[in-house]
């Protein structure tokens, strides 16, 4: 990763924690990213600066092709920027090799996908258990955490169900439990409600918000779902690969417990 020589605007949010504040979860500085299609380079991110605080639910908002998923991928350490610096949970991830990045994701980052991405040959229990297996968590501890996670998302009765035996909303709950079960410091969700109907979408949003607060985790979501924006602590609009000033979000003193479908 290289730092650009351009004169930088200060990152959206704050580059350094203020006295008494915790370290930011993510610091993005001058990040550029292009995708090559044949001989043509298509810029997707054009010098993005961003600071995401811990313990907050942040939404990257924008239309299709705006670059929000690309930014989410960079923050999730599953892609590398062409230029710019990226610090995730205090770690300069640009300096990490592929194995180190894999280990970093395994230990610190959870993912929720638009299409749920559950492993079809594994039951709900086993899908949630899998990240703990990768992390080498002992059997007893694993069992306790998997059951607790599935209980939290309201699927204690569907432990043995395969993804094909679950509804869309239930699958996404399993995916959320899978992301939370290893107690990561950062969870990223790419359009988590895009494949759900409005009722299930609302329930999933409420669930994510509740879990985010219970676990005190930094939650970054790419979405243009207004429900999500309404629950967010911060909304970062992106247009044409550039980050716009954050939108104001409704102040929420209390989030009601989700009504589980």
């Amino acid at each position: 990763m290289t730092r650009t020589n351009e004169t930088r605007q200060p990152p959206v949010g704050q580059a350094e924690p203020r006295p008494g504040m915790s370290r930011p979860a993510v610091v993005v500085h001058g990040v550029h990213k292009s995708y090559r299609s044949g001989t043509l380079d298509t810029p997707v991110l054009r010098g993005v600066d961003l600071v995401i605080e811990t313990d907050q639910l942040s939404v990257l908002s924008g239309p299709s092709g705006s670059g929000k998923t690309t930014l989410l991928n960079l923050i999730g350490c599953i892609d590398r920027p062409d230029r710019g610096d990226l610090t995730v949970l205090g770690r300069q991830v640009g300096a990490l090799n592929d194995n180190q990045l894999s280990d970093f994701r395994r230990d610190h980052i959870g993912f929720v996908f638009q299409n749920f991405n559950l492993l079809p040959v594994l039951t709900a229990y086993e899908n949630v258990e899998y990240p703990l297996l990768l992390a080498g968590v002992p059997t007893d501890e694993r069992k306790r955490r998997v059951k607790a996670a599935l209980d939290q998302v309201g699927l204690a009765a569907q432990l043995r169900h395969y993804p094909s035996q679950l509804s869309g909303g239930q699958r996404q709950r399993v995916a959320i439990a899978r992301a939370f079960v290893k107690a990561p410091a950062l969870i990223l969700a790419d359009e988590p409600t895009a494949n759900l109907d409005s009722e299930n979408g609302a329930a999933i949003v409420a669930l994510m918000r509740t879990l985010q607060r219970q676990h005190n985790v930094a939650f970054v979501i790419s979405s243009h779902d207004p429900q999500l924006k309404a629950h967010a602590d911060r909304v970062y609009p992106i247009r044409d690969g550039r980050l716009l000033p954050p939108e104001a979000t409704p102040v929420r003193a209390e989030i009601a417990a989700p009504s589980l479908v």
Binding site: I78, N99, S102, N117
Partner: protein, 467 residues
């Protein structure tokens, strides 16, 4: 609650597309069966050949040095005079006692057999045997072929009889007397048909021998004159009864074979001189002991300062190794064909699997699985398919082998006129099963390597975007 382990996920993935897995498994199963059945058949042929050879010439022979290379043309110059001492030394050796089944002398000679008065004769390869020892040798059946031991036609305990190969019997017009099969009818032995007259001195010698008071009166069995050169180069003739004709399984041998008691052969070759033999034949209880016994024999020979050498049946009968080599090359060719099919079949399956599960690869990688973990997973799936295919193939091949072995099929090998049981020897040595399983497993692993490597190299973002 089922707990995932390293094999659970690959195993379930293998069962995910059952039809495709089944097709790949069938390729492996058929390949494994073909390899094992052909390999077992080749083993049976080679084992059968070894059995036939060992029954006739033993595992090892002690001979005068260079008799094998030079002595067959003049066997009289390469006799073992003190063969009884050699046999006694072998039989007295405590190490050899449990490994050697038969130790017996053999005198080979070249001669002419004929009824000179009827004008029929032919050259013969004579074998002076101890008939009882030869019959014990024919009981050897280490590989348990479903055959009954066949005694040699030379009667035990009689000193004035010979037996002939059926080809010799036909030539000497003894078809009716010896009930030889496949004799052309209407062929009448003319007086000296187209041949030269017997020299007068040989004729006189023959008549003298036939009138010998030492010979018992004829009991209706045909008689023959056997003419050979003595060790001193003088002609010697013995008149003998013909007990029977037998088939040795190879026409060329049947056309020249004549067996006689050792004493008769020694009298024919050495007259009143010290009797000798050309070989001392050793048959072992197990072929596996051959190197140990040979080393021990060599030591005994060295200790006694005898001018002898030890030769094994593979040296004495080179066609054995040639046949083994032939079957090994055919097996190798079949392995190459089957291996190629397995290689492409498994590779095709695994490539399709990787393509279908690209998003899953991205998901696992985003959860923190390293590239090596992805590669290991697909490699495991290839190995599971390989293991299932080869194990099932082995099981079915065993059933096929049992069916073939109990079906009672027979076949006639090349250069043979006797049918032998068609069997499959799969279990005599683990080499065949272990080797074929290992080869196909290795191929399955190799076939999975490239798809697994490609799966591991897919960028996470591309994998997640895959449609």
């Amino acid at each position: 609650m089922f707990s995932l382990n390293s094999l659970a996920l690959p195993l379930r993935n293998v069962m995910r597309n059952r039809r495709r897995t089944l097709v790949t498994l069938i390729t492996l199963i058929v390949g494994e069966i073909a390899l094992l059945i052909f390999g077992g058949y080749a083993n049976a042929v080679v084992d059968g050949m070894q059995t036939g050879i060992v029954q006739q010439i033993g595992h090892l022979q002690i001979q005068r040095k260079n008799y094998f290379l030079l002595g067959t043309g003049s066997p009289m110059d390469y006799g073992i005079a003190d063969y009884r001492k050699v046999i006694a030394a072998v039989e007295a050796d405590p190490q050899l006692k449990n490994m050697v089944k038969v130790t017996t002398p053999l005198l080979q000679l070249q001669g002419i057999a004929g009824d000179f008065n009827r004008g029929v004769s032919r050259t013969v390869a004579g074998y002076g045997y101890v008939a009882a020892d030869q019959n014990r040798m024919r009981e050897w059946n280490e590989y348990r072929f479903p055959i009954e031991p066949k005694k040699i036609a030379l009667p035990e305990g009689q000193s004035d009889v010979v037996s002939l190969g059926i080809g010799v019997a036909r030539t000497l017009r003894l078809c009716d007397a010896l009930t030889v099969p496949n004799c052309p009818k209407g062929e009448v032995a003319d007086k000296n048909p187209g041949g030269k007259a017997m020299p007068d001195d040989i004729g006189a010698l023959t008549e003298l021998e036939a009138a010998s008071p030492n010979l018992p009166a004829s009991d209706g069995q045909p008689r023959l004159d056997v003419l050979a050169a003595t060790a001193n180069g003088a002609p010697n003739v013995i008149n003998a009864r013909v007990a029977a004709a037998e088939s040795l399984g190879v026409k060329e041998i049947d056309d020249s074979y004549m067996a006689m008691p050792l004493e008769m052969a020694q009298q024919l070759v050495y007259g009143r001189d010290t009797p000798q033999v050309t070989s001392i034949v050793l048959q072992l209880r197990s072929t596996a002991d051959i190197d140990t016994v040979r080393a021990r024999l060599t030591r005994i020979i060295q200790d006694h300062g005898w001018d002898l050498e030890v030769l094994d049946y593979r040296t004495l009968f080179p066609a054995y190794d040639q046949t083994r080599g032939l079957f090994a090359s055919i097996f190798g060719f079949i392995l190459l064909l089957i291996g190629t099919i397995v290689l492409f079949s498994v590779a095709n399956t695994m490539s399709t699997v990787v393509m279908e599960r690209t998003v899953e690869i991205g998901t696992l990688r985003s959860m923190g699985m390293r590239r090596a973990g992805i590669a290991r997973q697909f490699l495991s799936e290839g190995l599971i398919i390989g293991t299932l295919g080869t194990v099932l193939g082995c099981g079915l091949a065993v059933l096929c082998a049992l069916a073939i072995n109990s079906a009672g099929f027979t076949w006639t090998p090349p250069n043979s006129i006797e049918k032998i049981p068609l069997v499959v020897h799969m279990f005599n040595t683990p080499d065949l099963i272990v080797g074929s399983v290992a080869a196909l497993l290795l191929l399955a692993a190799i076939s999975s390597l490239l798809p697994a490597y490609r799966a591991a190299r897919i960028p996470v973002v591309e994998a997640l975007r895959h449609v």
